[in-house]
Point group: C2
Chain length 525, copies 2
């Protein structure tokens, strides 16, 4: 008898929330909401609909429908109108004055799953899939996403959860596939001037392996791999152009941002970044690599006092997690814990870094940069069966870097639509330049990476591509009083002055004769 | 020597983030942002300033400055312009085309304190004070607040943290004070039709005690105490008017929403509500009571299968926390765990409930409503020393309710600007009415409170003040086939039909001859 089945009934009531729709006239705001689908309702109308600020409504036209987040206003929107931001207008092809049906969107299952995670439960694959699908469809609002990220940060993810998350993130986006073996390389970042990929891709491709490298632009750093590569060739390729380039050259160096690869990852990073949390680090990286069809991946973990990983032990722990997770999704992963105490090579900034990488292809020279490139490439050559050991792989990679890498890079540049005749000196760098000298004498014992990043940003990086820093001295170098430590470059003189002012605020390098003559690290008064 | 004090230096760099200001022209959006201070910058300008979407900037005019949250747009805002929502325009008295200075706001200490809580630390009073101050100054964005609420929900608050939170919430708002003893009553809510305060205030005030009762409007329920009281008199009083009323009559029944009492609480509730979390329940209630200067407070915890507190044990646990916390802030608290399985009295909806309360003052009658009023008032009379025991207090309260409460209520109505001659039948109720009958016979064993709330909302509550429900039967009443169980009223016929349709979806009352003839509660197929 239905009338006394209390527990079932209460459940039904929770799921099937009461709702009725309302017909409203569209008002175009001519404003974009930063990628979010937002509408503004009169406060009374919202009340009548039973929705509150940040609740969702489903907007339906004769042809289509879309979920949007509600803002309310008591003054500017009259009753009966629905004001739409660009994302909603475009999504539904709305015109001013058009009638639409507005229906409160009932409780999302995903909200409950997030709540389960908050309360300490392990989520099932199905629950994670639903959450990620609602992330991609923009059904979850910022509060819910922030709560989810915070809960993941606090509770952590099990291997099963991470695996399900990767599957869901890959499934909800576009994917590439290049056959049975495809190599890839990823750095967790945190070291300025790391142009390793620019050299590693031609080396690996020249060995006969496939390496479809997608990369990101700078968010908080002076330049990302995509920013550096763009100094050499177009990087905004679409899926077809990438397939053409890789088929022709075995490699590519493209921007992954507009390819719709694991889009949930990008949306969640927009929440993680302002919160300063990255519980999805592992899943995020692996899902991007899965999306491009990578089967063998080397992951670089720069480690050191000023890097993301402070100790080798921390880096080992993270490496173990990468590898376990990789096993679960049938991806071979090898982690390399690298020295992360100073910039890689001498240059920081898109154009300066591209120049440095290209110079190294034209004129090989042993350095921390080439050492890093050949070590990581050697690992990939070994993983993919081209070399019998990492050591063997490194020797092969060195040989390729000295001989075939330049012509491979030219092929890639040409296939991506660039000019293969480009010389390092053709890449324009900032015309305004200032040197930073020292009055001290001794040996460079530490370099303040964070401060270098701030100076490069102040000089205009990454937007002003010619801006940046060139280090004249690196760790272990001997310095005499009056020596130039570094040069700052900028495209605009006003930015150069800002950067210069900043360079005077804090010491950029520690120059000490002997460590045992400087025992006080910090005093508290 | 400064140059090697690494740890100190790194700290400084973290705190003192690099920033430079930019002069921009104001563009007026003529849009309000729901109480938030939001500006829109061109994406390039934002990059030049080094800020991202949801970061904060400080906007400075010649006279004043204000912190706002950044949104970015690549299309609609040209470089050099800053588009401002109404809250920012009003806050700085801006006009279109005016020049303002825009400066990135560096990292907030509060963000780090929130992060400490996320990571499991107990916050100090100073840290909590800073967080609450940044909440009130709108320096923390929604993501940060959602993360904070989630962390509080997951980690809980220590007594010391709750105490500090209360202090901070009271300190950042307006306060009232009515001398050495001021009584107050609060219900954690969850039972429909609870008009207890409307009768308790005149009873307590007539006993000679002071009771400055502020209350809220309905958020998700059919009516809040402020909505009910507004049927009898104006409730939108300012601080001076409240002081006048209380001085004159010992009591008041006003809306607390616009009084700036513990404003942090209201801002945090806006985050808690959509997340469905209320980690601040205790601090929130006590800070509101502290703000009105309450010294003796009775807290009502309606308990039962369909109430917020499911068991007496749960309610006891929460009561203990209320009392401990009260002790810490020198507030005497007495918790009353009350029967919360059915509506209080017979009526639900602002006008219907106000009528019912006023009727009870004109013509006393023993009922669950008067029983609750006199019990709770009796506790207050005992706490404040007017009665030697709760039992004694209840008897005093009954006597007052039968004799002096009506004239006290008339005084309060008059002092708040209402008409003391108002009779119950003068309060207009919805003209559209429909009865819900039953074909069953037996005894009412349960009442579906949630469903009643949904029906009252569909009928127009709380906006349509005449809408609501009148119960003809309550728990334990005998029912014959054909009897009317309840009436639904609405101000609009369309809403009545919606409510009626809803009333047919689920059983509203469980009518069973004997419990032992209905053993199956739920089946799963």
């Amino acid at each position: 008898m239905v009338s006394i089945e209390c527990s079932e009934m209460e459940t039904l009531i929770n799921v099937e929330e009461y709702s009725h729709s309302m017909e409203m006239k569209v008002r175009i705001l001519d404003l974009d909401a930063g990628g979010k689908t937002i509408v503004v309702l009169n406060e009374q109308d919202a009340r009548d609909l039973g929705v509150y600020s940040l609740d969702r409504v489903i907007i339906t036209t004769e042809k289509d429908s879309l979920t949007a987040v509600v803002n309310t206003s008591d003054k500017f929107i009259p009753q009966g109108q629905i004001a739409v931001f660009d994302e909603v207008r475009e999504g539904l092809c709305l015109t001013a004055g058009q009638d639409v049906q507005v229906l409160p969107r009932g409780g999302l299952q995903s909200k409950r799953y997030i709540r389960r995670k908050v309360n300490g439960a392990e989520l099932t694959a199905g629950e994670i899939e639903q959450i990620i699908s609602d992330v991609v469809e923009r059904n979850l609002n910022d509060l819910e996403l922030a709560s989810f990220i915070t809960a993941l940060h606090m509770r952590g993810l099990s291997i099963a959860e991470s695996t399900a998350l990767i599957d869901a993130m890959v499934k909800t986006g576009s994917t590439l596939s290049f056959g049975k073996i495809a190599c890839d390389k990823h750095s967790i970042g945190g070291v300025p001037g790391d142009k390793t990929s620019l050299l590693l891709v031609p080396v690996v491709a020249a060995s006969g392996l496939t390496i479809p490298k997608t990369s990101s632009r700078a968010i908080t750093s002076p330049s990302g791999t995509a920013d550096r590569a763009e100094m050499l060739m177009p990087v905004n390729l679409d899926i077809e152009e990438i397939e053409y380039t890789v088929k022709k050259t075995q490699g590519c160096l493209v921007w992954g941002g507009a390819l719709d690869l694991a889009p949930a990852d990008d949306l969640l990073i927009q929440i993680e970044h302002p919160l300063g949390m990255d519980p999805l680090l592992l899943s995020s990286i692996i899902s991007k690599k899965m999306s491009v069809g990578a089967t063998h991946v080397v992951i670089d973990l720069p480690t050191g006092y000023r890097a993301k990983m402070k100790t080798v032990e921390d880096a080992q722990r993270l490496s173990r997690q990468f590898i376990n997770l990789g096993t679960n999704v049938s991806m071979k992963i090898h982690c390399a814990i690298t020295f992360g105490e100073q910039p890689i090579g001498h240059n920081i900034g898109p154009a300066l870094e591209a120049r440095e990488a290209l110079e190294m292809l034209y004129r090989y020279e042993v350095s921390d940069l080439t050492e890093k490139v050949t070590s990581l490439a050697g690992i990939l050559l070994h993983m993919a069966g081209k070399a019998t050991s990492k050591r063997q792989g490194k020797i092969m990679a060195e040989k390729i870097l000295k001989t075939k890498a330049l012509s491979k890079m030219k092929q890639i540049i040409e296939a991506q639509g660039g000019d293969p005749r480009l010389k390092p000196e053709d890449i324009p760098v900032g015309e305004y330049c200032v040197s930073v000298t020292t009055e001290r004498k001794g040996v460079v014992r530490w370099i303040n990476n964070k401060e270098l990043v701030r100076i490069a940003s102040a000089a205009g990086c990454p937007k002003d591509t010619g801006a940046g820093i060139r280090l004249m001295k690196k760790l272990g170098d001997t310095v005499q009083a009056g020596d130039t430590l570094l040069e700052i470059r900028a495209d605009k003189s006003s930015k150069l002055s800002q950067a210069e002012r900043l360079a005077q605020q804090y010491p950029l390098m520690g120059i000490i004769e002997r460590w045992d003559r400087a025992m006080i690290l910090h005093t508290v008064a």
